[in-house]
């Protein structure tokens, strides 16, 4: 991959349907601009987020991965994001051990009304990935 | 023993020498060890921040760095110096870029760990009101005191910390502890005109005049301050103000450490009260404190 011409940053975003996907819709309603590098995949809940899918995303060449869900306590299914909140640090630590820089993997809580926050989160993720690409 | 880095500031070595003396006396009595920062430079006072943001941060930074290195809270009895130290600390915390520039021009690094406290807070919070009470030799019974805080120890809200911005109580609590009566008034934090003392004197006369008038109306015997700038505006300018208002205000202005000094048993000359333009002697005599 290193020999290839430097391609644009590619971030895969997994957004839970009830909060973060709706929050991203709200970003649109508020016309808040954010980098187009993120490609969004809708999932019902961060609880559905199989760590395998994230590993697959990195394997497929994603430069960054963002998983975003409801704030703790606000999960549409009560508990899903609590499970995700445990998987995330474990997976991040394991990925780092395999050499996947911590700047490439992020999680956030974005509620359905936090359109602005979603734009900020994406900006931060893209900036982090860029930082990783440029500064190693 | 409580050890505190002491930043006296320029005024305390000249126009407000009595404040410095009273402060050192009181702290000695309370066993608070004031360690004067060697080679301190002026904090930049009311001037630096309207000339250059960087100067305003760089000047106090040297003292902050010293305090941080020696692991002591840093204090100043002068509200202006306190405000500049605190603001420099907060601004560097908020703006890493500014901190970087300050480090470049001073050639030293600052880790943002200095704890900047106004002298009132050192005494009331670090040392403790109860401990002060235990040391009191003379209750200041019958003295009605208007506590005047001014701008610099209360605003912006971040410097105020535990106290309330609009109606601070820290000095009032101290006054009650000393046995005197803090009067209820709402000009505690109005501005005295501060740095306009020399350049826009007419503004100082109006603003300080308003404060003195309000204190008088609310029945104060004297006004207690914690800032040499406020003091010089309220005290040294008072004869002019009296003339302007066509009344004899005759309102003694005392530093809070002087008032504490009285309660701790020091006398008129110990506390250099003769330096004031408005002599507090007749008042204190009439109340039986001297």
């Amino acid at each position: 991959m290193s020999n290839e011409k430097k391609k644009d940053i590619n971030v895969v975003g997994f957004l839970c349907n009830w909060c973060s996907y709706a929050g991203a819709d709200m970003t649109g309603l508020g016309r808040n601009i954010y980098p187009s590098n993120i490609k969004i995949i809708r999932i019902p809940c961060t609880g559905r987020m199989d760590p395998m899918m994230i590993i697959e995303a990195f394997h497929n060449g994603a430069d960054g991965v963002l998983v975003s869900g409801c704030h703790p306590g606000d999960c549409h299914y009560s508990e899903g994001n609590f499970y995700w909140r445990r998987r995330y640090p474990h997976l991040k630590s394991l990925m780092e051990h395999f050499g996947i820089d911590k700047r490439r993997f992020h999680a956030s809580w974005v509620s359905a009304s936090e359109g602005k926050k979603f734009a900020e989160v994406v900006k931060k993720v893209v900036a982090d990935v860029k930082d990783w690409q440029e500064n190693g | 023993m409580l050890k505190v880095a002491y930043f006296p500031g320029c005024s305390l070595s000249s126009t407000a020498k009595e404040y410095d003396v009273a402060t050192r006396l009181v702290c000695e009595d309370l066993e608070i060890d004031l360690v004067e920062i060697p080679e301190w430079t002026c904090c930049g006072a009311t001037t630096a921040h309207i000339t250059s943001e960087l100067t305003a941060a760089a000047l106090p930074a040297k003292s902050l760095i010293w305090a941080e290195k020696h692991n002591m809270p840093i204090t100043s009895p002068c509200s202006a110096c306190f405000s500049r130290l605190k603001m420099a600390h907060l601004n560097m915390e908020k703006d890493p870029n500014l901190k970087k520039e300050v480090e470049e021009v001073t050639g030293e690094t600052y880790n943002g760990k200095a704890e900047v406290l106004h002298l009132t807070r050192v005494m009331l919070e670090k040392y403790g009101l109860e401990n002060i009470k235990a040391k009191i030799k003379k209750q200041l019974k019958g003295l009605k005191i208007a506590c005047y805080y001014g701008c610099l120890m209360t605003r912006p809200a971040e410097v105020c910390e535990n106290d309330r911005v609009e109606n601070p109580m820290i000095m009032d609590n101290l006054v009650s502890a000393l046995g005197a009566e803090p009067i209820k008034w709402y000009y505690k934090t109005e501005c005295c005109g501060a740095a306009f003392s020399l350049t826009k004197t007419e503004i100082v006369r109006k603003l300080s005049g308003d404060i003195l008038k309000e204190a008088k109306t609310c029945g104060a015997d004297l006004v207690m301050v914690a800032c040499p700038l406020c003091h010089s505006n309220l005290d040294a300018r008072q004869p002019e103000i009296s003339k302007l208002l066509k009344t004899d205000l005759n309102m003694p202005i005392l530093y809070f450490t002087q008032v504490m000094g009285l309660a701790l048993g020091y006398d008129y000359m110990d506390l250099m009260m003769n330096k004031h333009f408005i002599d507090p002697k007749p008042l204190l005599k009439s109340k039986g404190i001297l």
Binding site: K7, N10, V12, N17, W18, C19, Y21, A22, A24, D25, T27, G28, L29, R31, N32, I33, Y34, S36, K39, I40, I41, R42, I43, P44, C45, G47, R48, M49, D50, P51, M52, M53, E56, A57, N60, G61, A62, C70, G73, D74, C75, H76, Y77, S78, E79, G80, Y83, W84, R87, S111, A112, S113, E114, A119 | R164, V165, E166, N167, Y186, T217
Partner: protein
């Protein structure tokens, strides 16, 4: 090979203004399996939908991708469309190129177009692995729960009951009536609030379809639309049903230690009390926190004087379990607590009062019998200052929104004051006057022109006491002048905020709410009383500040929604649920442990001939499709319909590869 049709919507210029939709459509044609791709001005319009139906028939399509707005907006619409075209509705995917592309990447049209192409390609990749799913149905419990007995809850309950359905109305306070009962008059007609509200309160108590539960709270919610299992805590009133509401106990109670909540703490109230004389139900409750008997074990005067023996000290809080098909949440508002304003005296200056306190003062059944006097010394007032936007439009107090009603009620209060005391003078400090509404602007003009209220444009900087006067330091920005008013009383126009426990209630239902605690509607325009939780509707000020007519309109709207839901025999539910491939299940019980709904059952089953195993099974009627089981199964035996691993993996693969052609 799949036969996929791609339909790209312009959404007027919403999408086409940024994204080159024809390029997106052209690119779609190059993708494997895509037979036809079309772009059209408004895909959701009738002709737009017909384009899809016609194309399905003409090209014999079996899967559809619609690249348009958010699926949260129109997924239902297009599923119905392809159903009409004879396809299984779950063989349709939406590519969100409006909310997620054109509206947020308008800074670079080329990048936006490329992203739109990618997003569409991801949807094509997903739909390729979509499976036909069969519809599922659930039964409906045709009883409604209404939470909150203010005007919104009352209206909703009456409307639903009027349609013949059973309603349980739950109110936290001892009486229904809510905030409206506290008001004196209403703008812009100045008719008496109680006169129009109390008949409705009585109607609630007399309606055979309505069960009224006051002094009660919802504590637990399970289930889903059609089948909500709700636990309601009935707090002990200490007064039983024998009470005839004679009020002797209240009169004789010697304990006056508490302050009346209804009178905004301007007057004391007894330990046994009804909030106000017209309370419904007219049954007092004992406040056990303050009651002398409950605190010391002595007194029992109320028991002695009660003619019917209705006092029952031994009553306990009771948890009542009920089943409901739908819920209306109408929990209302609190006013902003102005003790956060140091410059207005930290709420410690007695004669600086809130707007609701003013309502109680000027109300003839209020604590002063309608005399507007200073709370500090009960003197009558001459100069009164009204300050608007207290806890509204104030970022430093984290209340940046406009509370919508304060401009109007301030004008009303100033007018009422002048009506009662013609010699008074009112000053109103405002920033902007917001008087959009029928006869509203005329009303404000009347206050200024006919009632001589002085309007000054500026926020007040400080209020302080000097002697027995209040000095109000303000400004009039229109003239550039500083203004100092010597006032006898200051009335603050406190903004509206959600109830303190609004978030907890939202979490019981899993409703979403904004940063202040106001509930989010499903769509701000097209579904203003629905929430993301189907079967839960919202009305009134718990969504956002609003006035009485808007609140009543919303309440009736929720009633219509509830009735529409109840008019069906069976409820169609989404079949997007988990399923277990028992052949690959190892029976480790991980999914069984994580399922929030207990929708997984373990069974011992012969999965293949001679292969008896301990395996998991999904209870289809219980599963809500959250996927927690999928995320935790390491054997990859559980999958989620509609979001299957195959679909997600296809999306990932597409998302991470470059566009296949670079035209």
């Amino acid at each position: 090979m799949a036969r996929i049709g791609v339909f790209v919507c312009h959404c007027g210029t919403n999408i086409a203004g940024v994204v080159d939709v024809t390029r997106v459509a052209k690119y779609a044609e190059t993708l494997p399996g895509v037979r036809i791709s079309v772009d059209y001005k408004y895909m959701c319009s009738d002709p737009g939908q017909n384009t899809i139906i016609d194309a399905v028939k003409k090209y014999n399509l079996d899967r559809i991708v619609v690249a348009a707005c958010s699926p949260r907006m129109h997924e239902g619409t297009f599923r119905k469309t392809i159903e009409r075209a004879g396809l299984n509705p779950y063989l349709m995917e939406m590519a969100n190129i409006r909310e997620h592309v054109s509206w947020v990447h308008s800074d670079d049209k080329e990048l936006a177009t490329q992203k739109a192409m990618k997003v569409m390609e991801m949807a094509v990749a997903k739909v390729r692995r979509s499976e036909a799913l069969s519809k599922m149905f659930a039964s409906i419990e045709k009883r409604a729960l209404v939470i909150g007995g203010g005007i919104a809850g009352i209206q909703a309950a009456l409307d639903i009951a009027g349609a013949g359905y059973k309603v349980v109305l739950v109110e936290k306070e001892p009486s229904i009536g809510g905030r409206m009962a506290q008001l004196d008059k209403t703008f812009p007609t100045l008719d008496c609030s109680a006169c129009i509200l109390t008949p409705k309160m009585v109607a609630v108590s007399q309606d055979p379809n309505i069960t009224l539960m006051t002094y009660a709270e919802v504590v637990e919610v399970c289930g889903y639309v059609g089948q909500f299992d709700v636990k309601i805590k009935q707090k002990a009133k200490s007064v039983n049903s024998k009470c005839i509401g004679c009020g002797v106990c209240v009169t004789k109670c010697p304990n006056r230690k508490s302050l009346s909540e209804f009178n905004e703490k301007l007057a004391p109230r007894k330990a046994i009390y009804t909030p106000f004389p017209q309370a419904v139900p007219n049954v007092p409750v004992i406040d056990r926190e303050t009651c002398t008997f409950f605190k010391t074990g002595k007194c029992k005067i109320c028991e002695k004087v009660c003619p019917t023996g209705a006092i029952e000290y031994t009553q306990q809080d009771e948890i009542i379990k009920e089943k409901f098909g739908a819920v209306v949440v109408a929990t209302g508002f609190n006013i902003y607590d102005h003790s956060n304003y140091g410059e207005y005296g930290y709420g410690e200056i007695k004669d600086v009062i809130s707007s609701l306190q003013f309502e109680r003062l000027i109300n003839s059944s209020g604590p002063t019998d309608g005399h507007v006097v200073r709370p500090s010394d009960h003197k009558e007032v001459k100069n009164v200052v009204f300050i608007q936007c207290v806890g509204s439009r104030d970022e430093s107090k984290h209340r940046p929104y406009c509370s919508r009603v304060c401009c109007m009620y301030t004008a009303k209060q100033a007018m009422l004051l002048k009506d009662h005391y013609p010699e008074t003078q009112s000053y109103v400090f405002y920033i902007d006057i917001r008087s959009a509404g029928k006869n509203y602007e005329e009303f404000v003009q009347k206050a200024q022109n006919d009632y001589g209220v002085v309007y000054l444009r500026g926020r007040v900087s400080k209020i302080y006491e000097r002697g027995d006067k209040l000095i109000v330091k303000g400004a009039d920005t229109l003239s550039g002048a500083q203004v100092e008013v010597e006032a006898d009383m200051v009335v603050l126009a406190n903004g509206l905020e959600p109830k303190a426990n609004a978030k907890e209630l939202a979490q019981l239902f899993h409703m979403s709410y904004d940063q202040y605690g106001f509930y989010n509607e499903l769509h701000p325009k097209l579904a203003p009383v629905e929430t993301a939780i189907s079967g839960v509707f919202v009305a009134g000020c718990c969504i956002s500040p609003k006035d009485i007519p808007d609140t009543v309109a919303q309440a009736s709207a929720t009633a219509a929604k509830v009735c529409a839901l109840f008019s069906k025999e069976k409820l169609e539910v989404e079949p997007l649920i988990a399923n277990v491939n028992q052949l690959t299940c190892s029976g480790c019980e991980t999914c069984y442990n994580v399922c929030p709904y207990s929708a997984i059952e373990m069974e011992d089953k012969e999965v293949r001939r001679g292969d008896m195993r301990h395996v998991a099974k999904v209870l289809e009627s219980v599963c809500k499709g959250c996927g927690a089981c999928v995320g935790s199964c390491y054997c990859k035996a559980v999958d989620l319909k509609g979001f299957s691993d195959r679909q997600v993996m296809n999306q990932i693969e597409t998302a991470t590869t470059e566009l296949s052609t670079n035209d």
